[in-house]
Amino acid sequence: MLAIGFATTAAIGASVLITDAGLQDGFQVWDAIRTVLILLTTGWLAWGAALALTGLRPRRRSTTIAAVNSDAATVVLVPICNEDPVATFARIAAMDRSIRDAALKLDIVILSDTRSAEGQAAEHAAYRLLIAETGGADHIYYRNRSDNRGRKAGNVEDFIRRSGGAYDYAVTLDADSLMSGEALAAMIARMDADPKLGLLQTLPRIIGARSFFGRAMQFAAAFHGPVFTRGLERMQGATGPYWGHNAIIRVNAFAQSCGLPELSGKPPLGGHILSHDYVEAALLARGGWRVLVDSGIGGSYEEGPENILSYAKRDRRWCQGNLQHMRLLFAPGLAGWSRFVFVQGIFAYLVSVLWGVFLISTVAGTVLAPEPDYFPNTYQLFPVFPSDRSREITALVLGIIGLLIMPKFAILTKSAITGRTREFGGSARALASVAVEILLTSALAPVMLMFQSRAVVQVLSGQDGGWPANARGEGALTFAEAARASGWIVTTGLIVLGLTWQFASDLLPWLLPVALPMIAAPLLISWSSQPVGARHFSVPEETTAPPVLASFREIHGRWLATSHDSAAAEALPNEALHVPA
């Protein structure tokens, strides 16, 4: 309630300030538009800040449950589609080793949706390598689906329909997921301890980032992520989130509750449910099952996008999936919080459009404002000047900036006090990382606003972006590649700057922080995609590599060397020669 109160107060405060400033030259329709937009956008920012502040409070009690021998049958599911099989299967080999080290006996099933014969052959070769590496023919399985209905959700559903009866729990992973045996044991113990727990989500840490952008995201996820997620844990309670991977589900509960229908109508808003994970969490809660997230479970990892274009490509898919949830807002029987989660997911993308419209309406309001009436009364000796509201507007801008950066500095301060910054290279280095990450995300914000706004417009105008395979491992971009993808952003920035210069030059200083990054988009995209050393944005996983990550790197390196070594390759099945490096 405090969080909602904080967000509401901030939103109303911002609206009052902007309304007051707008009314100085009389009421126009632009003033009403700006008031509504600033109410929504500031409320959204304040809600994010409230989430972080809620997460800063220490845990009341530990939810750690000692892992004990479990009678439950557990399977680890790895759905893949056109992934790099060497890297993916090397992760599985490392997880299998870690699972054995944790004295667990789990099955692992690779669920392939890869269609091309070449891709399947590469997977077959990698599977043979995996079995040779692990000796796991009795518990590591591979199957390729002939019908790709329902994409990843359909892939998992197909497994549950065919083989789900053999298992109590299923751990769902992505192709780039990595989980330690200890993490899996802790998750199984939590499921054993709470028979009404339908799903337990972990917070995966991003690993393996090399570029400036990737490392900044990796640092932010490691440093700020747990605090924001703890805030989410507190707010959502037993109606928690599901992010589709690095989570454990109770198979029976999932089968009872999560058979997803196809939505009526055509894509992008009809057809298969794309962001299935949010819907599955809502359906589990509708079925009376608890859905929890626990940021305290370590040993859960994933990889992230290495450059802004990969990030924007992923965002396009998520945007379509989240906007599709507009169709589900009034689905029968859902918990109120589940509907609110849908609204949040939708708003996460709509807010970019709202900021864009706010900027346009601000410029339009200034250009179309009537001349000030200095003598509003018939018999008036002295002129009446509109009062200057620059200070109020400056306060509003500073307030908005504060909502954006205050939570991050609050997390930094608390981390310095508790000694957590030691894991991030010490307080000074953590401060530098936080400051540079804020500068980078601020510079990139107008570029991301443009990509997200375009995605929203595409979806709402009926353009289906599909759900292409993740382009993992995409690295450095040249200036030309970045310019090709962002030329339209540069053009828009130049038009905005030119029009403002021509018609509302007073607003130029206010619009420069938005227009300049847009004009510099190719430079920003290309520069931030370049590899940087590990000195930048230090994270704990780099100081001491977790055993499962070290295993993955060792196995992956060896397999790659094997596939390049012609003598060794002769000993491998023919398909192994086709395994892409």
Partner: protein
């Protein structure tokens, strides 16, 4: 199945030649389709109350 069987697990590298036989054992489980939208697309007045009455089948 998650018992301490580290030593008991045998290392097996033998797999069938045909990838169609690499799949997991079959143990079918029913997964009924869930209702998420009204069969008719028409507006219903009761929809307005759903957000305020969570968990109620209205």
């Amino acid at each position: 199945m998650t018992e301490t069987l580290h030593q008991a697990r045998t290392e097996t590298v033998l797999i069938p030649e045909d990838p169609r036989f690499w799949g997991p054992p079959e143990a079918p489980l029913d997964m009924p389709r869930q209702e998420l939208e009204r069969r008719s697309g028409r507006f219903e007045f009761a929809q307005l109350f759903r957000p305020f009455l969570p968990g109620q089948h209205i």
